[in-house]
């Protein structure tokens, strides 16, 4: 039976309550499969609370972290089952070389996570060679490139050029975003999509998969 108190606590990013309830369930030795469902349901609710303007970004960001820690608490009993959540697709995200601004890219990751995608977050100041390596080896469906500065947006162009040179362009969809980025730029450099903000990025990725 769903534990409404747990679901509510997850949806409100109440870390202390979430951890306390789960610890009690772990200690009691009960089957934790339901906890996994409740955590997932709580995150879905948190996403809905954000969409309606009831919850704010820090609650979503913090809540995603609480969810991850909670998963680790039940992993010893459930094992690989916790990783077998169905995913909508695999997305690699990076803030390009020379650019350390990754708040926007981090938000995209969280919105994608909430929507059920598997994320490979490469961090910031990521050289194109590293991104190419991930595309070749981990085969994401989509790669998202963020650039905040006019000086670094050229890296997006460069990556697409490299993908073509290496014959990898058809293997992955490319979405670009960041403050100076716009649709025409995405068209010019041959990207598949442009995300105007984090939520738009998630919506565009939905349409690419």
């Amino acid at each position: 039976m769903p534990d409404e108190k747990l679901i509510t606590a997850v949806s409100q990013a109440e870390d202390d309550i979430v951890f306390k309830i789960i610890q009690e369930k772990v200690d009691s030795g009960e089957d934790l499969t339901q906890v996994l469902h409740d955590l997932t349901e709580g995150m879905k609710l948190l996403g809905e609370r954000f969409s309606t303007g009831e919850a704010f970004i820090p609650e979503v960001v913090f809540g995603a972290d609480v969810f991850k820690q909670a998963i680790e608490m039940i992993r010893p009993q459930l094992g690989d089952l916790v990783d077998k959540r169905e995913t909508k697709g695999k997305v690699a995200l990076a803030t390009v070389k020379g650019d350390v601004h990754d708040i926007g890219k981090g938000l995209v990751a969280i919105f994608l996570d909430l929507a059920g995608y598997e994320i490979i977050d490469l961090g910031h100041d990521v050289p194109n060679e590293k991104i190419l390596e991930v595309i070749e080896n981990q085969k994401p469906h989509v790669v998202g490139l963020s650039a905040l500065m006019t000086t670094t947006m050229l890296q997006q162009k460069e990556l697409i050029k490299l993908l073509k040179e290496k014959g990898l362009r058809d293997r992955v969809k490319v979405i670009v975003g960041g403050a100076p980025i716009y649709q025409k730029w995405a068209d010019e450099i041959g990207a598949d999509a442009f995300g105007a903000d984090a939520l738009d990025g998630r919506i565009k990725i939905d349409s690419l998969i």
Binding site: G53, I57, V100, H101, L107, T150, P180, D197
Partner: protein, 494 residues
Amino acid sequence: MKIRPKLQILEESQIKEILADAYHILDTVGVNIRDYPPALDLLEEAGANVDRDRQVVKIGPNLIDKTLSSVPSHIAFYDQDRKEKLFNFGGDNCFICTGGTGIYIQDYENPGHRRKTNTHDQIIHSRLVEECENISFSAPFNLYDVPIEVADNYRFLINYLYSSKPPFASSWSKEGFDTMVEMMAVMASGEENAETRYAHVHPNDPSSPLHWSQVVIQNFMDCMKVGLPPIIICIPIAGGSTPCSLVGTVVLETAENLSGVVIGQLVKQGGPLVWGGGPSAFDFRHGTAPQSAVESILMMCMLAEVGKYLNIPVEGNIGRADSKLPDIQGGLETSMGYTLGCLSGVNMMRGAGILEYASTISFEKLLVDNEIAGQALRIVNGKIDFSDVTRAVEVIREVVEKDGNFLKSKHTMEHFKKEFLLPSEIIDRGTRTAFEDSGYKSAVDRAHEKMKKILSEKDPRVVPEEKRNALIDIVRARAKKYGMEKLPIEEVSE
């Protein structure tokens, strides 16, 4: 005696605490300088603790104190040709700069809509800035009708051709920087002592928390080398890249700025630089970074107080509007920024004519902001004259005893222009009848009319053909590398 109204948020003891925290952060956490070994070499030689693997430099208090002592408190600015001295930048003097950084133009005919910027827009903008008596610095914006690789030099060129005011403009690569320096030499040619006459400022944006990227640190150090005053401007999002508290953000920005002071003074002891900033308060509902939020302005004013305490000229991204339109919200945001910024003595307030998180240029907003700036500057630069003459006791006696009024008084004749600022036609203080007769126009409509009037009646500035051609040659040569044979400005006929 002249009264200069002042806002002082932090007490001296609190400024000292902020500085002590910032010193502690630089000493124990350090600053990350990416992929530019010359900066690490310089700091190591000066005694800083350099971790080459992590590219992190820890800077001790003695080095900070030593370098702080050599920063000039004022910078004398000249026009772009370095002929005429314009003003002394520092102390409590306040100046306004346009917003720069824009990538869109607001469409007056289709309010709320915008399109990408081009050469023609920059020409209009620079010509308008030339006529804005309350705007002292001209920051050109990004232009999209040339290859992006050369857009930094190209916008600098257009701005120079149409505005004499000192520009606030960065370059985006080493090549762009060197080309800009080459252009500046052409602009100053024929002037004696040009190298000691400052006519440009170059923003350099370290990224919070405590990062200098390769292009930024290289350009910053090159600025110091060639005597082009750099502005250190971190643009953090409080609650994102800095703590979710006003003073926590000020502490972190202070540490970032101090790292710039140390590096700058090590490159050139006694070289001028500017203590800048552009904090924004994270909007936790929309994920945006408004610099117009009242907390953003408060953080900037406090950061300015720290810079002023250290006797360094101060810049702030202040007076910007985040509204999508040049509307009431935009007017509120700019007015609050300029008013508080002026009262705090922020020497340069950068934000005139820009909307929506510094992305969208509005010509009408620029002209309205010139009016807002005039009124805000009136509070501080105009000063309040407090004397026997202005207290006017004898005038009051004389007028009242004669049962007259003050309109006929010689005192009024002598003071009305000095005591009261007369705004332009953009600010409507006229009668109802005049308002109706002129077609119920808003301030934005009146600004648009003023813009058309300036463009049709005022001649553009004239740059000698020799200089103009030399500058175009320099930029064209660079543009050719990126596939452009002829610059759009070459199609523009005067």
